[in-house]
């Protein structure tokens, strides 16, 4: 070591690598995403053309990673529900694996099933989730990557498998293919009949899909400003951005944005932003996508040994049965005795009203309800005439007389609707 010339400036020179390294990393962190977003310029499209392009999209094989983020402004409930065992989908709230696992017991097995479902729901409404999707023709698979756990949905012609690694449980959902095909054929035949009859009656050709789209857009335009935003990049692909801005002042929704792949027309990202907010309250996007057909082994599933398998066959009704159900439903609608949800208002500020007694009949046990109502009390705040749950996108009002009102609207609008019924 040349001690003789070790002046202050010499000392400083030797610190250069230590100063340069963080700076280099910082510059890299800023520059790499900027480069990824640099200068995307796709041929201009009007909203109509873009929607048509998206509608004509024919992607039958892909594999990719989807990330879903929710910032609904709900309080964090992980401590409250206590069922954090193994962690809620990589949200990072359980770094202490063993410790987190130990308090993962609110009860035993089935007894806490309703609480677990509630947790699943809440965990979806908060934090970030990553999933892989695979698609090839009629085969599809959704793989939700939780920390040290996984949930899978396998879809194929033969039916569907739902697998949960934490519960070590698999559900096999099957449909009677022959009956389904018969139903489809019959429905198509009837559709043709109706079409022929209409043609005969009108004497003019039916509107083309473009006409239908134009009409739908014109209708949409009354409530919503539809525009094409700036081209961007999602999952490394150039995308168009379709932006929907509600014209209604009562709604909490500020903007809905959908990113449409400039090449295939597939929607690669969607986000909902609350009014007055910069960051999306809810967003789902591909972080990486490939349109090559995935390997066939990805779709294969046989329940592993030691897994509890539930078989569930979905009955397929015939057309006659369907019509009978429809008639019954209509008859019931006229019958005021059975409460049914009604919708007040329309468009973005529509409010759904569940009359008293319409909920809580779903067979949920008293225990489950008790737990749910305790949670409701911590989530909601009291207002004049009930309790209100507000998130950045959705508001729910539980009135004292047992009605539930919900909508993507402000609390005042809900209170109004509850008071006036309009």
């Amino acid at each position: 070591m040349r001690r003789s010339d070790t002046g202050a400036s010499h000392r400083l020179v030797r610190w250069i690598p230590a100063i340069a390294a963080p700076i280099a990393i910082g510059v890299g962190v800023v520059l790499v995403p900027m480069q990824a977003n640099a200068a995307v310029d796709l041929p201009d499209l009007t909203p109509e053309e873009l929607l048509e392009f998206a509608a004509s999209s024919e992607v039958d094989a892909l594999s990719g990673t989807i990330e879903q983020t929710s910032e609904l402004g709900l309080p964090d409930l992980s401590g409250l529900t206590g069922t954090m065992g193994g962690g809620a989908g990589g949200s990072g709230s359980d770094s202490f694996g063993p410790g987190g696992g130990d308090d993962g017991a609110t009860g035993d097995g089935e007894a806490s099933a309703s609480a677990t479902d509630l947790d699943d729901l809440i965990s979806l409404a908060t934090g970030t989730h990553t999933a892989k999707v695979y698609l090839d023709g009629t085969n599809a698979r959704l793989q939700v990557l939780d920390r040290l756990a996984e949930r899978d949905v396998y879809l194929s012609e033969a039916g569907a498998w739902i697998y949960d690694s934490r519960e070590q449980a698999a559900t096999h959902v099957t449909v009677d293919r022959a009956a389904l095909d018969a139903l489809k054929a019959e429905a198509e035949a009837r559709g043709e009949d109706a079409r022929a009859r209409m043609l005969a009656e009108l004497g003019t050709p039916l509107p083309t899909p473009e006409d239908v789209l134009d009409e739908a857009l014109a209708k949409l335009d009354e409530t919503t400003d539809v525009s094409v935003g700036t081209d961007a990049r999602v999952a490394g692909r150039e995308v168009y951005e379709l932006v929907l801005v509600p014209r209604d002042a009562d709604t909490l929704v500020g903007e809905v944005s959908v990113a449409i792949d400039g090449d295939t027309g597939l929607a690669l990202a969607a986000s909902v932003t609350a009014r007055g907010s910069e960051e999306p309250a809810f967003s789902v996007a591909f972080t990486d996508v490939s349109f090559d057909a995935p390997d066939a082994s990805v779709f294969a599933f046989t329940p592993p040994e030691g897994t509890a398998v539930t078989e569930h066959e979905v009955p397929v009704p015939t057309v006659a049965e369907l019509e009978q159900w429809k008639a019954e439903a209509e008859a019931e609608a006229g019958d005021a005795a059975s409460p049914r949800p009604e919708v007040i208002g329309e468009g973005w500020s529509a409010v759904v009203v569940l009359p008293a007694g319409a909920y809580g009949q779903g067979g949920a046990g008293a225990e489950g309800l008790g737990e749910a109502s305790a949670m409701l009390n911590t989530l909601t705040e009291p207002v004049d005439g009930g309790r209100i749950l507000s998130t950045s996108l959705v508001t729910v009002l539980f009135t004292d007389d047992g009605r539930v009102l919900a909508g993507a609207v402000t609390a005042d609008r809900l209170l109004d609707a509850a008071a006036s019924g309009r």
Partner: protein, 299 residues
């Protein structure tokens, strides 16, 4: 000279190294033999074996406890715990899940925190720096030795777990998180990959430990500070209010090795983890170099 060298707990390996370092003509070969003698010193220390032995105890405890007390109920305790009675191979995975948040970082903290401060406290540091350009080379050698210890620690847990499981429980094809089942050979390869993942996870922490070790001549201070930083990072990772910070914490991907137990294997977290750890190694490596080459070595 030798009387001062022997002042510490170290023995013959230290003496060999002095001889090598004092021959500047053998620069490249010198680095290798310096590394060799450093590793020899590290793995000859009783403390190193005590640390590895403590890590090996984790799978043994898990295996014996389950053997004696019976199967864990589904969905309780660390992931895979409930599957051990059906398949002993899961002992290794369960053990590494248990060891990753606390025990592994503690041992790494001891080894990395001791790297420079330990030599300084024993008064051996200045003899190691006799050769020209010796300081950076010494840092690199110390860091590589710490990294080798990371690999040894991770392998100890996984290999010991697999052996314990093999002895105490039936062995069979392994059910992955995706529900697919793979053969024993494939599963063992995946366990090795998990050990590699954990090793990579600990590299950033080793660099932090090395830097802290250059700041002080009290090794216990550097060891404790390193371990505390790891725990602090994990606590911050558990706070949802700091979500923006999470991807930057060196502990953030520590339990991401579950992705290697999926079918098909998801390598994303491995790559992200490696990139993050490389960033930490670069920053704290540069800081350690800056500190060490400007430091007045008095002991």
């Amino acid at each position: 000279m030798s009387s001062e060298v022997e002042a510490g707990t170290t023995s013959a390996g230290r003496g060999d190294r002095e001889a090598v370092v004092s021959r500047p003509a053998l620069q490249a070969g010198g680095t290798l033999s310096l590394l060799g003698s450093e590793l020899l010193t590290l793995f000859r220390r009783r403390r190193t074996w005590a640390l590895l032995g403590a890590l090996a105890l984790i799978p043994i405890l898990i295996g014996v406890a389950i053997r004696v007390a019976g199967a864990a109920p589904t969905g309780r305790g660390p992931a895979f715990l409930d599957q051990i009675t059906n398949n002993g191979l899961f002992v290794g995975v369960t053990a590494i899940i248990v060891a990753t948040p606390l025990f592994l970082p503690l041992t790494i903290g001891v080894v990395a925190g001791d790297a420079i401060a330990g030599e300084a406290s024993h008064g051996t540091l200045r003899y190691l720096l006799i050769a020209p350009a010796g300081r950076i080379r010494l840092l690199v050698v110390k860091y590589v030795a710490a990294a080798v210890f990371c690999a040894a620690a991770a392998l100890t847990v996984v290999v010991m777990g697999t052996i314990v499981g093999w002895v105490l429980f039936p062995i069979g094809p392994v059910t992955l998180l995706s529900g697919a089942t793979v053969g024993v050979g494939d599963a063992l390869l995946r366990f090795l990959a998990i050990a590699a993942y954990v090793t990579v996870s600990l590299l950033g922490m080793s660099a932090i430990g090395l830097f802290l070790s250059t700041l002080t001549t009290v090794p216990v201070g550097a060891m404790a500070a390193t371990a505390i930083l790891a725990v602090a990072s994990e606590i911050m990772d558990a706070l949802p209010q700091l979500e923006w910070l999470h991807p930057w914490l060196f502990t953030h991907y520590w339990l991401g090795f579950g992705d290697l137990m999926r079918e098909p294997v998801v390598w994303d977290s491995f790559a992200e983890n490696a990139l993050l750890q490389a960033g930490y190694v670069l920053v704290f490596g540069a800081l350690a170099v800056g500190r060490f080459i400007t430091k007045d070595v008095l002991s």
